[in-house]
Amino acid sequence: MPTPTRRDFLKTASAATLSALAAGSPRGLRAELTSDVLLPATADAVIVLWMGGGMAATETFDPKRYTPFEPGVESNRILSTFPTIDTAVDNIKFSAGLEKTAAVMDRGTLIRSYRAGDLGFILHSRHQYHWHTGYAPPQTVAAPHIGAWISKTLGPRDPVVPAFIDIGQRFDVGEGEELKAFHQAGFLGTEYGPFLLPYPDQAVNAIRPPGGMSAERFKARYEAYKKLIARSPVAEHGSDYQRESLERSVDNAYRLLSSPAAKAFDLSEEPKESYDKYNTGRFGLGCLLARRLVEVGARFIEVTTEYIPFKHWDTHDNGHTRLSELKPEIDAPIAQLILDLEARGLLDRTLVVLASEFSRDMMTEGKPDNQVKDQVEVPDVVNELKYYGMHRHFTDAGCVLMFGGGVKKGFLYGKTADERPCKTIENPIQIEALHATIYRALGIPANHGYEIERRPFYVTKDGLGEPVMELFG
């Protein structure tokens, strides 16, 4: 089935929609999104798997020499706290605990040279803002999340499914305001903002009638509403754009809630055997939900392990122990997601991107040549298990894993040094290029943008992001 484009959406949209778009939205830098603007796409949908909190590369997808724990071991000797394992690709090794993902590595591309921004004294949520918007905070205009850019530019894939869905992040678990600052559509307008589903197993609540309301009652309420507004005196005023905008939004919401696509939000509809494969916790179920949503036409989905200060990947202590618990949570669901998408014929047109705001290291805070203020005490010699792990924030080399959506299969890009500080030594890639690559897969030029306050604002900083074409098959 050909994927509906934004142009199709515009063609079918009512005149009222168009006037609303014109009146309420920032002006595109080009008169119209035409095929001259959009490039040939290799992907129609994107799933970002977000390892919030700083995923240590040497403990996951870029393992180095393994130093087992024993009291008295020198901190500076420790590069990896897990042994190395093989993957389905000869020249790519992973860290132990990621066997299932290793087995599907032949479907994807691994980048080991992601260089995070130089934002000074580390604050996770700032780096996450930078990763997600391509702009370092603070900004003078509210920079949109990559999901919002995509939602605005391409529109929904299926008109009833929200174009930007965010799974797993709550905002009351620490740095909530900082997280909210980028989980938004910014100047593009709230229409393009995230549909938030913090609890995948409760996602169905977001698209079904409010608690306790039967489908019949829900339908009756909507029908009564339509009748009542038609009888209201303001209906005789003649048309006004605000009224149409309001009525249309309610109709859209009703359409989603009563559409077959709504079933995708309901994980209880998944066969038990399959559900169990994903059920490692909220992240695992988030991956399942993402797959189900892509199947019904979602455009951009982010699933996060959830950023909570000092939790999950944010290992300020007990790094090794924590990762021993965390890896099983992510390994099976990621692999299953790739296999399921492939089995359904969706992987070719769905770009899956696993990423984190930066990496971690035992010794270096920031970059080797641009160190920043330490936040974690690291003893010279490790005597207790709690000091065994990557506890500092390392921004010089992180891993990004990509599957499907036109990227090469079994491909390795970028290289890091085998000895500390394990910096990027080949093909460094920064957020502008990474974003440009994701946009390129979707057919969006890196210099696409909109005008706000009479200035141009682009999907990549200054419109200058260069996609890494080498990553495409």
């Binding site: 309420g24 549909f195 309610v250 141009p456």
Partner: protein, 644 residues
């Protein structure tokens, strides 16, 4: 454009062909040998030397430099450039003064050899253009001084009211009239929502409609403005957005933000004169320090976003409708403000000298301190910070600074009439649709001791405010014609409060502690209002911003995400359940229940067919569920969510 200049331009360009190179012709300056950056190298030349005659509305010689296409297309004398070959390009011959009779720019300084070299390299390198960028004519700064136009005659306007008098000729000229006025109910609903942000209760509304006193509308306006507590609570949200004052908000992790809530609420409650209000915010008076303190993020921040620069940007935007954001990084392309203007102002807020950075790169230089409008006076670079801030406040509130008052009266007009006299309201150099109205209101505000409630009262009692509401339409600032207030959406806070009113259920506890203010209550006191609560998913979906940036107008478009939140969100569902229980507990008959709900929510009785449909929805037993569903249908209706 004057006729003579047009003639000169035509003579210069019309029928031109590239002259053959005679021996005595000076050599073309060489193309510079480096990669040309359109934004940094070329745009400034086009903007500096060409736009006056060849952009925007001007196309002298049939030629524009607005877009790459227009440059390639050339003018009356044919293509202006040969892509990849600057030596053969007419543009280069003209700017390089190859023919003394035909030199461009026709007016102003000629291009330097270096500039010609840049243009040559640009053409040779394929005429790269920044996608979508349009070269626009230099903007024209608005007049700074106050101006008080003479009021047109009261007689021909048929009204003593100054706004009516000012608008009578305007409306007549555009074929509109302000004689049609909305009925009492519509007027009261508008006024309650606009002044205090609440729905009128059915009792208050009936009493107002039944009142036969002439001038009762003016009396209502006066009463509402005197209810300082509700007035201040309502306007708190507007100012919280503008001043980035949030009860949570980014930056708290390192103590990077400071609230001004108590100060602000008191200032609104006491109706602090606006020039004093501005002075206290700009000088960081006790309790008001947070505004110029800005937001401090942990780590390294772009030079254009350091707290001092935030202060410069925000003071300019909020109080003067000046956009200094571009200029805080580089000389602006969209207006005349320069990097030095921005640093000159930012430096006023700095404890120590601020080094000028261009695009985040240190320049090794320092800008002399100055106000944006130096004609009003100077700021003493030698003075300490406190003294400088006082000087800045003096200049902002200087009697010759008409812009301070124009900016705020335009905002107030925009809040009430749905659209400013100038739009966008943060860009006060744009052309007003009625300069006399704007200028008069501004001077009038100053003459009344900067009493904002005076201006509010004046607007609310004008015929313009009482005209029937009109569609927002899609006219831009240049073609807009005023013919009545524009339909507005309830803000997130108005909606939440109205919901609390009709469900008789208010939040239990405020998230911010505010002082008592005086005044005469105009309405029965209500519970904890939405302005005093931190954001929840409902108000976020309804458009309350996260106050990361200055926001001075809320979104006017309803969104699907918001409708989803309103269709099945928990916040609303809980509220409706409370409302259903309340109304059921009243033990009234079904027909009365429908009437009461319509009166409370919409300020009117249901029509017979509405009554019938509503009763069907509630069901014969008037269950809590049935009542909830009717409540939902009402609050989702345009009549409830919009202000007509």
């Amino acid at each position: 454009m004057t006729g003579s200049r047009l003639l000169i331009c035509l003579l210069l360009i019309g029928g031109l062909a590239i002259p053959s190179r005679a021996d005595e012709t000076p050599a073309l300056p060489p193309a510079v040998e480096r990669q040309i950056d359109f934004h940094k190298d070329v745009a400034p030349i086009l903007l500096g030397s060409c736009v006056a005659c060849h952009a925007g509305k001007n196309d002298d010689g049939g030629y524009q430099v607005s877009t790459r296409e227009s440059v390639l297309a050339g003018g009356d004398s044919g293509p202006s450039v040969v892509e990849g070959n600057s030596a053969e390009s007419l543009l280069i011959h003209l700017v390089a003064q190859q023919d003394p009779d035909r030199v461009m720019p026709a007016k102003g300084p000629k291009l330097t050899a270096a500039q010609v070299g840049i243009l040559r390299a640009w053409i040779d390198q394929g005429l790269k253009w920044e996608e979508g960028f349009v070269i626009r004519p230099k903007y024209v700064p608005a007049e700074l001084k106050p101006r008080k136009p003479e009021l047109p005659s009261a007689e021909s306007a048929g009204s003593e009211h100054p706004i009516d008098r000012l608008l009578a000729p305007y409306l007549a000229a555009s074929g509109h009239s302000s004689t049609e006025q909305v009925d009492d109910r519509t007027f009261a609903r508008r006024a309650y929502l606009d002044v205090i942000g609440l729905l009128p209760s059915p009792e208050d509304l009936n009493a107002f409609c039944a009142d036969s006193a002439p001038g009762k509308r003016a009396m209502l306006v006066e009463r509402l403005l005197a209810d300082r507590k509700q007035y201040a609570t309502h306007w708190l949200s507007f100012w919280n957005d503008a001043l980035r004052n949030d009860y949570q908000g980014t930056g708290y992790i390192d103590g990077g933000r400071q609230q001004v809530s108590q100060w602000l609420f008191t200032a609104l409650g006491e109706n602090k004169p606006y020039h004093q209000f501005v002075r206290e915010l700009v000088t960081g008076a006790p309790g008001a320090e947070g505004f110029i303190k800005g937001i401090t993020w942990r780590g390294v921040v772009n030079a254009s976003q350091v707290p001092e620069m935030q202060a410069a940007q925000n003071v300019s935007q909020v109080f003067l409708g000046v956009n200094l954001k571009c200029a805080s990084c580089h000389d602006s392309f969209i207006n005349d403000w320069t990097l030095h203007d921005a640093y000159g102002l930012a430096g006023v807020f700095a404890e120590s000298q601020l080094e000028v950075h261009r695009c985040d790169q240190p320049k090794g230089e320092y800008a002399p301190l100055k106000f944006l409008y130096p004609e009003l006076g100077t700021i003493d670079s030698q003075g300490n910070r406190e003294m400088r801030l006082q000087q800045l406040a003096d200049l902002l509130t200087h009697e010759q600074n008409g812009r301070l008052a124009r900016t705020i009266v335009n905002r107030l007009w925009g809040k009430f009439l749905g659209r400013g006299i100038i739009e966008p309201v943060d860009d006060m150099d744009n052309t007003p649709w009625n300069a006399d109205l704007l200028d008069w209101l501004a001077v009038d505000l100053a003459e009344h001791g900067y009493d904002l409630t005076h201006t509010l009262g004046l607007i609310l009692t004008s015929r313009a405010y009482q005209m029937p509401a009109v569609d927002r339409g899609d006219r831009d600032a240049e073609t807009f014609i005023f013919h009545g207030p524009v339909v507005k959406r309830l803000t997130a806070e108005q909606f939440s409060d109205a919901l609390s009113q009709i469900t008789h259920h208010w939040p239990e506890k405020a998230d911010v502690e505010l002082p008592q203010v005086g005044g005469e209550p105009a309405v029965k006191d209500v519970g904890v209002r939405a302005a005093l609560k931190v954001s929840n998913p409902l108000v976020t979906a309804m458009g309350r911003p996260n106050r990361e940036q200055v926001v001075t107008s809320r979104p006017q478009t309803a969104t699907t995400l918001e409708a989803l939140e309103l269709t099945n969100g928990q916040t609303l569902a809980d509220q409706l359940a409370k409302g259903g229980a309340y109304w059921q507990s009243q033990g009234v008959e079904r027909d009365q229940l429908v009437q009461s709900l319509y009166r409370e929510a919409l300020g009117r009785d249901p029509r017979p067919e509405e009554q019938a449909d509503a009763e069907t929805l509630i069901g014969p037993a008037a269950t809590a569920e049935g009542i909830q569903d009717l409540l939902w249908s009402i609050i989702m209706s345009p009549e409830f969510q919009l202000v007509y």
